[in-house]
């Protein structure tokens, strides 16, 4: 059976999708080096640069967040595959020019972390001032005792891009950017649920299987199995189960301020996301937790997978201000 996707050569996806992005947002981004997305107008000299790396197939993430107020460079890998270290180093070198330092934001996935570690080694060998922050927001189903390293990177990276991007734009030091990125990262948790699988656009195979009446909580960003497979539940019940785990894992108490990001996986409609958000909002209200900011949409997807991620983050005044700061990234415009 032919894959039901609008593509050309399945082994030539990456350059074409990036070219399309750059053509669609010529005032925001441009392509540089080897499949690296950079700002159309580079950040002023003397400011810290933000670089990220990661596989593609998650559009608009990660490259859709390059722009004023967010990322300076995104090193994009093949579908679901980390970019190799050589290209990451290429980006770091570009980023380091006329800059007091580079902050590398990396999602906690094996391949990404490996490339990042090799990149960091090389950068240090070349005396490039670079710091790295690993985003580890994704909790597993039913394991509240997980350590930070066991959590993988889900949509939480977007919050880090946003607030760290805002500090960097202000002209703050690399240490200050790192502090903010780490504060955001430590206070963020996400949990994913999947309802229907997706097709890998290069191989044409589905990335996992799920029964007709099943859903799975705790899935990874690439269809990695979670541990919460169960019968399908309603929007309200699903939101309840997931939010309970998230709040417990982050240790949120009544009276605290939260940012909630509801991230559609691909095929789940915005209609559903709004219905789920309604449930989330009601639960928080009932628990006397303040929903200070929110974002509902598709930010980091898994092809046409049905499902979503709920991200919560503990916010203080500083983080709220940075979250609100202007951004003109193609897929995250702040008003």
């Amino acid at each position: 059976m032919q894959m039901k996707k609008f593509i050309n050569d399945p082994h030539h996806l990456l350059p074409e999708l990036l070219e399309g992005l750059a053509l669609a947002f010529p005032r925001q981004v441009r392509l540089v080096g080897t499949n690296i997305v950079a700002r159309a107008v580079p950040k002023a000299a003397g400011k810290v640069r933000l670089v990220t790396l990661g596989g593609s197939g998650h559009e608009p993430g990660l490259s859709g967040f390059v722009g004023e107020g967010m990322l300076d460079y995104s090193v994009t890998g093949e579908i679901f595959a980390a970019p190799g270290a050589p290209r990451c180093i290429e980006a770091i070198q570009m980023a380091a020019k006329d800059s007091p330092g580079v902050l590398l934001v990396v999602l906690n996935h094996a391949g990404d972390v490996l490339s990042a570690n090799i990149t960091m080694q090389a950068a240090k060998k070349n005396n490039i001032p670079v710091q790295m922050v690993l985003t580890r927001d994704g909790i597993s189903y039913g394991q509240n005792s997980d350590s930070a390293n066991d959590r993988r990177g889900l949509v939480g990276c977007m919050a880090v891009y946003k607030v760290a991007g805002a500090v960097a734009e202000q002209g703050d030091s690399l240490d200050e950017c790192l502090r903010i990125a780490q504060k955001m990262e430590e206070n963020t948790r996400s949990l994913a649920v999947a309802l229907r699988t997706a097709t890998h656009p290069s191989t044409g195979h589905t990335i996992f299987e799920l029964g007709d009446d099943e859903m799975e909580i705790g899935m990874g960003q690439h269809g990695e199995a979670g541990t919460g497979r169960m019968k399908m539940k309603s929007a309200d019940e699903t939101a309840g189960i997931m939010l309970d785990m998230l709040l417990e894992n982050l240790g949120v108490a009544a009276g605290e301020n939260l940012l909630v990001v509801l991230n559609g996986s691909g095929a789940t409609t915005l209609m559903e996301l709004w219905i789920v958000f309604r449930a989330v909002s009601k639960i928080l209200k009932a628990r006397n937790i303040n929903l200070v900011r929110s974002a509902v949409g598709e930010f980091i997807t898994t092809q046409e997978q049905a499902g979503f991620q709920i991200m919560i983050a503990r916010m203080d005044t500083e983080l709220v201000r940075l979250w609100d700061a202007p951004s003109n990234a193609p897929y995250f415009v702040t008003r």
């Binding site: 066991d150 290069s202 990335i207």
Partner: protein
Amino acid sequence: MTEEIGKFELTQMFAAAARKIREQHEYLSQLDSVAGDGDHGSTMLRVVQCMEEASHSDSTENLGSLLRDLGWSVMGVDGGASSALLGTFFSGMGDAAADKKSIDCRELARAFEGGLRAIAKVSRAKPGDKTMMDALDPAVSAFRTMASLDKNVMQAMEEAATAAQAGADSTKNLVARFGRAKFVGEKTLGSPDPGAVSIALLFRGFHEGLLQERRT
């Protein structure tokens, strides 16, 4: 009897390793589907292509820089964990290898050890975590032991290949703790780690390449 490994021998080793991987790439991807993302076979195809290209290229006869360049190009395969690790391995081998046109068994052992050290620095995985380390670590140990016993490259490689195979087989009984597979734990019991199987195939190929080289 092969006592020295030069560019010619390396070409034979890499060509045979590439054949092994090409025969098994669908199986490797299938193993990676158990709990990973099912792309390991296609990544390995690109890795072995780099190996063939590196040994065929005219650019250098210096094995150290050949291996360093190979490491860089394997990392550039952009295939995720395995290409990053194997690239690190080759580049670590290059750093450790003497800058010579050919190396003997002890020198090759030192190069393998350098590759293993380089991986260990970035991998965080230990033997027993059900990764390629479970095949690579025993393979390199076996090779070193044989080298220190003054065996020749052929004998050492045969032992290394056997050790890699045993290591790969042993991963069937392990629960994955690293890479993409770590989140599904128990699910991987009974099926070997794809990266470890690849290492076993590579070392088996190295040995066959040497055998073949001798025959011709």
